[in-house]
């Protein structure tokens, strides 16, 4: 157990937010790749989880990530009309719209969760998104709401 386990410890100087990005394979992941290949700089705060399609993202993933102690969640996929599976992102959009609104309603800070679209050719946009999200989350400070304090190994985001 290090001092990092305590939220108070995480508030200490030099705190860097941990942001989990759940992105689709066909657009945003490729966009992130392009950012890398093009050597566009963006903050190293995101941990990327690749899924086949935003339509495959169970809204529970977002909540689970928050419970596990991530300071921010980013979800991104293909722009509407460009889904590899035609309409996965449109189904996802309805889920995310209601999910985000419901999270805000119970008092989760708006900046903790971000939903966007980044296509495979938008390496620049990916970098901008990550930069903006990191700044937003930094301004909010470490997450406390919904965060599980009694850690069990399987939910804890690796410190």
């Amino acid at each position: 157990m290090s001092h990092h386990d305590k939220p108070a410890g995480r508030k200490s100087e030099g705190w860097e937010p941990k942001i989990v990005a759940i992105v689709c394979n066909w657009c945003t992941y490729a966009g992130a790749d392009l950012a890398g290949i093009s050597r566009i700089q963006y903050p190293p705060n995101v941990r990327i989880i690749r899924v086949p399609c935003t339509g495959r993202i169970n809204p529970f993933y977002v909540v689970k990530v928050l419970q596990a102690g991530a300071d921010g969640v980013l979800v991104s996929g293909c722009h509407p009309g460009e889904c590899h599976y035609i309409s996965g992102n449109l189904s996802a959009r309805r889920k995310f719209a209601t999910l985000k609104s419901f999270l805000n309603y119970i008092g989760i800070e708006d900046g903790r969760t971000t939903f966007t679209w980044v296509s495979a050719s938008e390496g620049e946009r990916f970098a901008q998104v990550v930069k903006a999200v990191t700044e937003r989350v930094k301004a909010l400070g470490p997450a406390t709401k919904l965060v599980k304090k009694l850690r069990d190994a399987d939910v804890a985001v690796a410190k």
């Binding site: 809204p59 529970f60 909540v63 689970k64 419970q67 509407p80 009309g81 309409s87 449109l90 189904s91 959009r93 309805r94 889920k95 995310f96 719209a97 209601t98 999910l99 985000k100 609104s101 419901f102 805000n104 309603y105 119970i106 008092g107 989760i108 800070e109 708006d110 971000t114 939903f115 966007t116 679209w117 946009r125 901008q128 998104v129 930069k131 903006a132 999200v133 709401k145 919904l146 965060v147 599980k148 304090k149 009694l150 069990d152 399987d154 939910v155």
Partner: protein, 339 residues
């Protein structure tokens, strides 16, 4: 009301005698004064047990789903041609009818499996509101006299207007008459006050995030995770609820408050476009958790975003089954603003 009740018994009797249905799910008088309880009538001569009054609060769609799926399961080993349909007659008020629509939208059974006995609803008595009015005194005797409840407690006789103890969801109900039925018993009931249905939500939205979080925390801290809310909910019919799945384990079972918060948050979130505001979960909750404050928000969002209300239209897919290219996406983040 009595007229509706009489017609209801006649209709149930007829359906059972003609073997049009295998069972009628309805309400009978409860064992305590001023209560009603679900009943399953299978013989015409039992139909006189059926009642219809202001104590019939259960959303019977729950039992319809249970009966039909149990019947289907019991016939799994039979050859398809030997399988028998179980036709369920169901006493159906507005909220129940919308739950049936949801089951149909979600392909849980077919319209042919149902015989819908529509009843006009003017709202049901909220057990807690009534207890409060009586200062927690036990009801020794009670009867319904027109628009009033005549009650005898240890301290004497009391008269309470039904309208003063109606459940909150009934007061602003938009669908107090069934949206689908095979036969409608009695004249449609007069409208309630749907104009005010989101007033409470609008108020809550005005609070700061910190105040809202404090309220959410406070309410969820009451929850003992008995899952009665889920058991009572007609839209909660999964064979294995996420709350009990272990591979992966979606919700932890520790004492950490977040485990309960996450369970409730997701149980409620699963009600987007599926909660008919029947109040069943609220009425069964032993801890008095204010679930409606959150569930009604989902209903509001669903209407604001997708212009649909849960179980409203049988010819449409449910809101989250559907999607449109031009759905609102104001929540989508664009770095540097603009599109």
């Amino acid at each position: 009301m009595e007229k509706v009740e009489k017609k209801l018994r006649e209709e149930a009797k007829k359906l059972l005698a003609e073997k049009k249905v295998d069972v009628v799910v309805g309400y009978e008088a409860g064992t305590l004064p001023l209560t009603a309880t679900p009943v399953f009538i299978t013989a015409p001569e039992e139909a006189d047990r059926l009642v219809w009054n202001a104590f019939c609060h259960h959303n019977l769609a729950k039992y319809v789903h249970d009966l039909i799926s149990a019947n289907r399961d019991s016939q799994k080993r039979l050859k398809p041609e030997d399988r028998k349909r179980k036709v369920v007659g169901v006493v159906t008020k507005g909220c129940t009818s919308r739950s049936l629509v949801i089951h149909l939208q979600e392909r849980q059974y077919e319209r042919l499996d149902l015989s819908i006995l529509g009843v006009p609803c003017t709202g049901y008595v909220d057990r807690r509101a009534l207890a409060e009015k009586l200062g927690g005194e036990e009801i020794l005797e009670g009867s319904l006299d027109g628009a009033n409840l005549k009650i005898r407690t240890a301290s004497g006789e009391k008269t309470i207007a039904v309208k003063d103890v109606l459940a909150a969801n009934c007061v602003t109900c938009r669908f107090n008459n069934p949206v689908i039925s095979d036969v409608m018993l009695g004249e449609p009931a007069p409208a309630m006050n749907p104009a005010a249905e989101y007033a409470e939500i609008d108020e809550f939205e005005k609070l700061s995030p910190e105040e809202r979080w404090a309220y959410f925390q406070k309410e969820m801290a009451k929850c003992i995770r008995c899952a009665a809310c889920r058991q009572a909910c007609p839209s909660c019919y999964c064979r294995t609820c996420f709350a009990e799945q272990s591979m992966p384990q979606w919700v932890g079972i520790s004492e950490d408050p977040s485990d309960t918060q996450v369970f409730q948050f997701m149980r409620m979130y699963h009600m987007v476009g599926r909660c008919v505001d029947c109040g069943s979960c609220v009425s069964v909750c032993p801890m008095g958790v204010d679930l409606r404050k959150f569930l009604k928000k989902l209903d509001k969002d669903c209407f604001v975003l997708f212009n649909q209300r849960a179980g409203e239209k049988i010819d449409f897919p449910a809101p989250l089954q559907d999607q449109r290219m031009d759905d609102k996406e104001d929540f989508i983040f664009n770095p540097g603003g603009g599109h």
